[in-house]
């Protein structure tokens, strides 16, 4: 078993991306869901420009959070059901690294597309350009944190059936600070102030999640694969 750790990370990442490419709907679905949620509001509500603009940071961030929640459900599920997880668990490698690779693959496939289309949708909500920049930045820092936090919940519920909503229930509260900071930063930018405060905090959360979530998820997955 002469596989370096960097190599291990790469092999797992590559495999997960390959699986995702085979089911291209994996890549499209979260982002389309995101667009759907964002598009629903002007339909269900009054679509006046200033109203929409005030709504934009909240709606876009909430939609991003919901898209993340929904797709997280699948993060480890397939691996547990088809027995791949048993194999990964008995490998002589640190499990946290495997989990990190899987989470990164997941973010690349589901989170990144959301970050990319968000500015386009923000334009339809009449958001000014500098606020869009901050929105983009906050999503770019915030959504990986969402994926990482979600990986803990996904690991805990991967063996269960009706996990979609249970997962939302469990990690929703954990994701709340990210949501509030992200929406806050955009809101501040919208009112013309300096949003670096919340952005730094978002960065700190990302660093925290990056170091704590993979081991926690590793522990959780050992339990749910039992």
């Amino acid at each position: 078993m002469n596989l370096g750790l960097g190599n291990l990370f790469w092999v797992v990442l590559q495999r997960d991306l390959l699986v995702a490419m085979r089911r291209w709907s994996d890549i499209c679905n979260p982002v389309i869901f995101f667009v759907l949620v964002v598009a629903l509001f002007p339909l269900a509500l009054n679509p006046r420009a200033e109203f929409l603009r005030a709504l934009a940071p909240g709606v876009l961030w909430i939609a991003a959070l919901l898209a993340a929640l929904l797709s997280l459900n699948q993060l480890f599920r397939a691996d547990i059901e088809d027995g791949t997880m048993e194999q990964l668990l008995t490998l002589p490698y640190p499990l946290g690294l495997v989990i990190l690779a899987k989470t990164l693959a997941h973010w690349l496939v589901t989170g990144l597309p959301v970050v990319v289309v968000a500015p386009l949708l923000a334009i339809t909500y009449h958001l000014p350009a500098d606020a869009i920049g901050i929105l983009l930045l906050s999503l770019l820092i915030g959504t990986p944190t969402l994926s990482l936090l979600g990986s803990i919940g996904a690991a805990l519920t991967a063996g269960l059936r009706q996990s979609g909503v249970l997962l939302a229930l469990m990690v929703g509260p954990l994701m709340l600070p990210v949501l509030m900071l992200g929406a806050r930063a955009t809101d501040i930018a919208l009112s013309g102030d300096d949003p670096t405060g919340p952005l730094y905090l978002l960065g700190a959360l990302l660093a925290l999640a990056l170091s704590l979530a993979p081991p926690a998820a590793a522990m959780a997955i050992r339990i749910s694969a039992d």
């Binding site: 194999q87 490698y93 640190p94 499990l95």
Partner: protein, 218 residues
């Protein structure tokens, strides 16, 4: 189908379980169960349905926690949050660990890379396991027996010293069972260890076999 590993196994390649106890609900599946298996030996777990064979195998693999007792492999406990104790052990349960979206080849290639099996030899292995025609089919469409064969090919590729097989004959036709037996005989002859759960008879050639009979079914 030449084995990848060069040398033999060390003397310490010993599997021991001591005082294993596990309750499930009100059923005691095993109570102070002990066993050991030396290199080149096979441990055959037998017993009626529901007697705890699968559970025991998962305990040996470190996938399930026993309430009491300990399983050691190479002298280190298999349980613990670091994976060092799992060194060179492979588990093959009811699930086949194949990604339905990937082809047979892609699935095996992933495990080959994890275990360091030479990628070039996968083709040979596919022929030996009778899967040559399925190499480029997504495993989703394989038949039950073909999936099982692919899972067994993975076991072979792992190059592990300890094989843990749960009813490996399931869904196999007679050619498949022969492939399995040949594989096992070769593994044992190379002084590997195998723990096998089986309801049917299985021909392990000249290898010494210890039978572990599990209690009556609940």
């Amino acid at each position: 189908m030449a084995r990848r590993r060069g040398g033999g196994f060390r003397e310490v390649d010993l599997l021991t379980g001591t005082g294993l106890t596990l309750w499930r609900g009100a059923n005691c599946l095993f109570d102070a169960l002990s066993f050991s298996a030396a290199p080149g030996n096979a441990l055959l777990i037998r017993g009626p349905n529901g007697s705890g064979k699968t559970t025991l195998l998962r305990v040996i693999a470190g996938l399930t926690l026993a309430e009491e007792g300990e399983v050691k492999w190479n002298g280190t406990p298999v349980i613990g949050c670091d994976n060092s104790g799992r060194h060179l052990m492979t588990y093959c349960g009811h699930a086949t660990a194949l990604k339905p979206e990937l082809t047979t080849m892609e699935n095996l290639r992933f495990f080959a890379r994890l275990s360091g099996y030479p990628i070039r030899q996968i083709g040979e292995l596919l022929v030996a396991s009778g899967l040559a025609a399925c190499a480029d089919l997504p495993t989703r469409v394989l038949s039950a027996g073909q999936k099982r064969r692919a899972a067994l090919a993975r076991v072979f590729m792992s190059g592990a010293q300890l094989w843990l097989l749960d009813e490996p004959q399931t869904n196999l036709d007679s050619a498949g069972r022969q492939f399995l037996e040949r594989m096992l005989q070769e593994h044992l002859a190379g002084s590997g260890t195998a723990v096998i759960v089986a309801h049917q008879s299985i021909d392990l050639g000249a290898a010494p076999v210890t039978v572990l009979q599990m209690g009556e079914a609940a």
